[in-house]
Structures are given as C-alpha cells and as structure tokens.
C-alpha cells in the first residue's frame, strides 16, 4: 500500500469520527498554537526593537563613538559599570583628529544632550525637553527634515548662534495654535530663536521622539549638557556602505587609542556602538525566549502524544476484525504498521495545522490590540507541523505494532 493511500485512509477515519478526532487533536493543537503564538510574539518584539527603537536611535550604516554604550539592554554587570564610570569622557578637541582619518564620503556629527527645561511666553508652564547640541552632518545622517522653517546654517554652527529647531510635541506645548518660526523660546532661561520644526519621529514603548529640540553644539546650552563644556556625548559617524563601515571603525579605533595613549595590551576605553551591538543583548534574550516558546508547548505536545496513543490503542482494539480482514486479504505486517502510524501522524499533523491556524489568529489579534508588530515565523509553522506529525508517529508506533502483530485468525473472529 502506498503512503498516499494510507493518508487518504487516515483522513477518511478522521472525517467519519469527527468528535473523537477533535478531542484527540486538542493536545497537539494547543501545543502548536502556543508555539506559533509565542514565537511570533518574540519575533514581533525583535522587529519592534530593531526597526522602531534601535532603528530610530541609530541610523543605517552608522555607528556612534562614545565613552560607553548608551543602549544597554540590561546585561551589564557591576564590574563593567564600574569600569564604564571611570572612563575618560569624549572631548570636543578629539573630533578633529578622528574626522581627519575618515574615508571620503563619510559623514559625521557631534552630539551632546541633556533634558532641559524650555519655556515660552505663548504656552503653558515649563516643559522638559531633550535638547541636543549638534554639529556637522547630524540632520543628514538621521535623515531628519524640517516641515517648517530651516536647519541651522554653517555660520550658526560655527558661531554657536542661539537658534533652535524644535520637535512637533514642543510646538504643541509651547506654541499652541501659533507658527513658532522666528518666535522666542527659552532654554534653561536663555532666549533662542526658533528657526525650524522637525517632522514627527514617532514613539517607541510610549516614549515620544518628538519632544526634542536641536541647537548648534556651540550655543550657550553647551554648558548644561555635561559637567564640562568641552565634553561631548558622542560622535556619530556614517559610512556610505556597510562594507566601508568596518574599515572606518578600524581607523577610528586606531586614532582613539593613540589619543588616549593606550598600550597594545590595554582594552579600548571607548565604545563604538552599532545597531548590531545595541541589539546584542536582545539577540541573546530572544534565544532564551524562543527556547521558552518551544519548551512550554512541549508539555502540551506530550499530553497530545499520550492522548493520541490512547486513542490509537482504542482504535486498534475496536478495529481488530478490520485488521484481521485486511491481513486475510493480503496486508503484510508492515502494511498494517504503516496504516496505523500514518493514521496517527495524520492526526498529529491535522492537529498541528489547526494549531498553526489558531496561533496565527492569536498573533493577528496581538498585532491588532497591542503595539507589538507580531510576525509569524515561517520556520515555526514548519516546525509546528513537523513536530505535530512527529508526535503522531511516536505515539502511533506502539499501537501500530500491536495491530500488526495480531493473529489474523483470532482477529477475524473478533466482532
């Protein structure tokens, strides 16, 4: 008997015994459903972090030179923190030597920021805003544009003119129903002229990226960003392509080690943070979550396996006469064996497919009602169905071998 025949036979049995099959399939179905759902939720969290969060913080093909990484997803131990704390801060005078070694076509920007209080005579109360002092190609690297007004000019950067580009949230709060361009705003009490409004940058985890203001690095707010005005928080560097970025990072490392007078045996006392390095911890965590996502449904699958085995044993007992007849008509031991194994694995696979369907529905519901962009992983669908069928095979082996060993004479007599 060919396998196709056996599958058809199994589907017939499932069709004719719907209720019994439904109960049989439940364990596998629920197990696979959780597998699909958990994996797609973990996947969704991963995509969210990569695209929405880190993607917004770190531009494409770029890295940030910092004294220590600022995106740490929780995996930094105390000793490392201690070491981070003792590091030399980056200084403005280090920017020029680094910029000198950058390959042609590379963009760079200086960043220093802090949460500062902003007020205006038009809006309500002070507003705490993330104010960033920038210089260089900052707006190009971030691909950030103004919807209104303009960006600072090179002269304004050079002179540290008190001009500011503000985010939409700040406009809403400090300039309700007003065009803010050319109006005055105070940052920590110092008057600035609004020259532009940025496009919206959205939010992540309830944190708005629009409650921001950008001033020339050399503007008066510089004194308020860090303990000393010459300190900067980061130098942002963007290569024209991913391939060139590695080379650029190597050059920057060499310059920085020279500037910091590090001996060859000493470790870097600065960080070059890429999107990948920021996601390192997440990638590790994702592994554990997926493992949990696979381990928990495993219990459901074990239960499913026991149920299928039980049902198959009952089926063998109920169909003793049928087995006897099949043997009398020429079924060999392996024909009977494969009939029942295929039947069990078809049960498992059908259960798994139902589970896949339900898992996908759960993922879609999660997507609709939570901010998580859940994404069903194709491999989890394949794994689910394969595991379902595998559970069927494993739990079908024992009942099938019992069936195949039945003596045709005794089996024929059973009614």
């Amino acid at each position: 008997m060919n396998p196709f025949e056996a599958v058809r036979l199994a589907l017939d049995t499932i069709r004719t015994q719907k209720l019994k099959s439904a109960f049989t399939l439940m364990g596998v179905c629920i197990g696979v459903m959780f597998l699909i759902a958990v994996v797609s939720i973990v996947n969704g969290m991963g995509n969210y972090l990569k695209d929405d969060l880190v993607g917004k913080l770190i531009a494409i093909n770029s890295f940030e030179l910092r004294h220590r990484p600022n995106i740490n997803m929780g995996d930094v131990d105390n000793a490392t923190w201690e070491e981070y704390r003792k590091r030399k801060r980056l200084r403005y005078h280090e920017v020029a030597p680094v910029a000198e070694v950058l390959p042609e076509g590379t963009r760079y920007a200086v960043i220093a920021d802090n949460q500062l209080s902003m007020t205006s005579q038009y809006g309500r109360g002070p507003r705490t805003v993330r104010v960033t002092g920038v210089e260089g190609d900052f707006f190009d690297i971030k691909a950030l544009e103004v919807t209104d007004g303009r960006l600072p000019t090179p002269q304004e950067y050079m002179l540290g003119t008190p001009v500011v580009v503000i985010g939409p949230d700040v406009v809403e709060r400090l300039f309700p129903n007003l065009n803010p361009i050319d109006r005055e705003v105070r940052i920590a009490g110092v008057p600035y002229r609004v020259i532009g409004v940025t496009e919206t940058q959205g939010s992540a985890f309830g944190m708005s990226f629009d409650n921001v203001a950008y001033v020339p690095y050399k503007a008066p707010a510089r004194r308020l960003f860090n303990a000393e005005p010459t300190m900067i928080d980061a130098m942002m560097i963007q290569s024209p392509s991913e391939a060139e970025m590695t080379e650029t990072m190597e050059r920057v490392r060499t310059v920085m080690r020279t500037l910091h007078q590090l001996r060859p045996a000493e470790k870097d006392d600065f960080a070059m943070q890429t999107a990948d390095s920021a996601l390192e911890f997440w990638n590790k965590l994702q592994g554990y979550l997926v493992l949990a996502g696979v381990a928990l449904p495993a219990f459901g699958l074990v239960v499913g396996a026991i149920v299928i085995m039980n049902i198959m044993l009952v089926a063998v007992a109920e169909r003793t006469a049928e087995i006897g007849l099949r043997k009398a008509l020429g079924a060999r031991r392996k024909d009977i064996l494969s009939q029942f194994i295929v039947e069990a694995s078809t049960l498992g696979a059908v259960g798994a497919m139902a589970g896949v369907g339900l898992g996908v529905v759960i993922a879609m519901i999660m997507r609709a009602v939570t901010p998580l962009p859940t994404a069903v992983a194709p491999w989890s669908v394949v794994l689910g169905v394969v595991v379902g069928a595998g559970v069927g095979i494993i739990s079908g082996v024992y009942p099938a071998s019992r069936a195949s060993r039945l003596d045709p004479i005794t089996a024929l007599r059973a009614e």
Partner: protein, 274 residues
C-alpha cells in the same frame, strides 16, 4: 441432473492417492491444493489439542469441494491452513505448486492476496467503505494503480449483478447483496481458489440458494471453489464432499454418493442446477 458438469475437473480417488503419496515432490500444476499428512496442534495452557492429525487432501483445478464435519472435527483449522492464515506443525501443504507450509508471515500474506479469495460467514465488509472500496481492498494490497483498481472492482461487482450498487455502504445492502459484495471482493484478484467459510451461515434459505447459484456459476466458469460448512444440504451443492472427523478425513466422495448416504432430499439440491 447433468452428468457432464460432474465429469469436468473431478479427480478420481486413484489420482488423488497418487499425488499425495510421495512426500517432498512438487505436484503437477494441475493440482491446486495438495496436503500431505497435515498436522496442527495447539497448546491450550499446557494441554495439547490435536486439531488435525494427518490430513491428506488433493484438489484439482476447477473442482468444487465442500469440507464438512461436526464442530471440533478440525474443519476450521483445515480451512485456516488451506487459506494460508495459519501454518501446520507437520506435513506439507502445496498451493498451486508452492510449498506454503515453509513460508514466512509476509510470504503467506502475499499468497493470500494472490491465490486465495475469502468469503466469510459474517461477510466481513468494512462498514464505512462503499461496495466499490471494499472490493478494491485486495487490489490495494496487490499494489494495483487506482484507476485499474476501480475498473476491475466495478467489473467484479457487475459479475455478481451489483453494478447499480457500487457506491452503497454495507448497511444499505441486504444480506445476500453483502455476501455478493464479499464474493466480488474474493474474485477481484483472480485467485486460484475461492475459499468460503460457512458462506450461508448468516442468510435465510432463499438467499442461501441465491448465493449457492453464484457459486455454481463460478464453478461452471472454471473457478476452483472450496467451501467449509456444517450443513449437509449446503455441502450437497458441491460436486465433491470431504467429511472430517476428529482431525482426519473420514470420507471423500462425489456428491451423489454423499447425498445417497446422508439422505438429503433431491429438492434442495435441484435448485443449484437450474
């Protein structure tokens, strides 16, 4: 009473003696069944039950033989051995020139599929399968492709006048129709022997006669038929009757001698020859 039918394919006592007398020799292909000193013992919890104690039996192609005997005579055991459902403890069994008594389980399954067409007392149809699917079953195990299976199964059902009932399930058919489905199933693989175990045991007398007519027609068309029964008037439909008692052959004779000896009314047997 047509003597011509009886003359076709009936072996004589002398011929049978000759073919069973030399152990180990392959019989002439004309002999479908040759059993030499067939023994079967069962161990029933320490007690040895000797169901067959040395049965000699030779059946030639196109014979129509009934095996009779009271319960406990060993006729079911003999049927199981002839049907290759069981293996003997002693003696030899040649089916169609093959030494079946030396075969493995899987080889026996192959032989059952190709050489034996079973008809059971309780029909043994798959309840959820249609008549057509039931008849296709032996072809499935023979590895015949689906479209040819369908064609041959339809043919077989046509030959037992069930052409219009192809897609009926057993519970939609009468007892006689079910047994005819079973006969179609038995014949679909063109077996060497049609082996029937109490084929009329679950049927009323009218339907029994109907089934006996089917057997008679098959025999006329050249099919070798072996039928196990405990009813003398059913056995009397065969052309040769073998009676077992206590695990050995008690008598092996033409129908006429059997009928005369047991005294069955002519009326019962007449029907089969209309």
């Amino acid at each position: 009473m047509s003597n011509t039918i009886d003359d076709i394919g009936i072996s004589t006592t002398g011929e049978r003696r000759a073919v069973v007398s030399v152990p180990g020799t392959t019989p002439d292909p004309d002999w479908v069944i040759v059993a030499r000193g067939l023994k079967r013992e069962y161990d029933m919890g320490g007690e040895i039950v000797r169901a067959l104690r040395g049965v000699d039996l030779a059946i030639r192609k196109n014979e129509y033989v009934a095996i009779m005997g009271p319960s406990g005579s060993g006729k079911s055991t003999l049927m199981n051995l002839i049907g290759c459902l069981d293996s003997p403890n002693g003696g030899e069994y040649w089916l169609n020139g093959m030494l079946v008594s030396a075969m493995s389980d899987d080889q026996l399954a192959r032989v059952r599929n190709k050489e034996i067409g079973f008809v059971f007392q309780t029909f043994n149809l798959l309840p959820r399968a249609t008549a057509l699917q039931n008849v296709e079953l032996p072809l499935v195990y023979a590895g015949i492709p689906a479209d040819e299976r369908k064609r041959r199964a339809t043919e077989a059902l046509d030959s037992v006048q069930l052409g219009p009932r192809l897609h009926h399930r057993p519970n939609e058919l009468s007892g006689g129709q079910r047994q005819r489905v079973a006969i179609a199933r038995a014949l679909v693989n063109r077996p060497s022997i049609l082996l029937a175990d109490e084929p009329t045991g679950n049927l009323d007398s009218t339907t029994s006669q109907e089934i006996m007519r089917v057997f008679e027609n098959l025999s006329r068309q050249g099919q070798t038929v072996v039928m196990v029964t405990h009813e003398p008037d059913i056995a009397a439909h065969a052309r040769r009757v073998v009676v077992l008692r206590d695990g050995i052959v008690e008598s092996d004779e033409r129908r006429e001698r059997f009928v005369d000896r047991v005294g069955i009314s002519h009326a019962t047997t007449k029907v089969a020859h209309d």
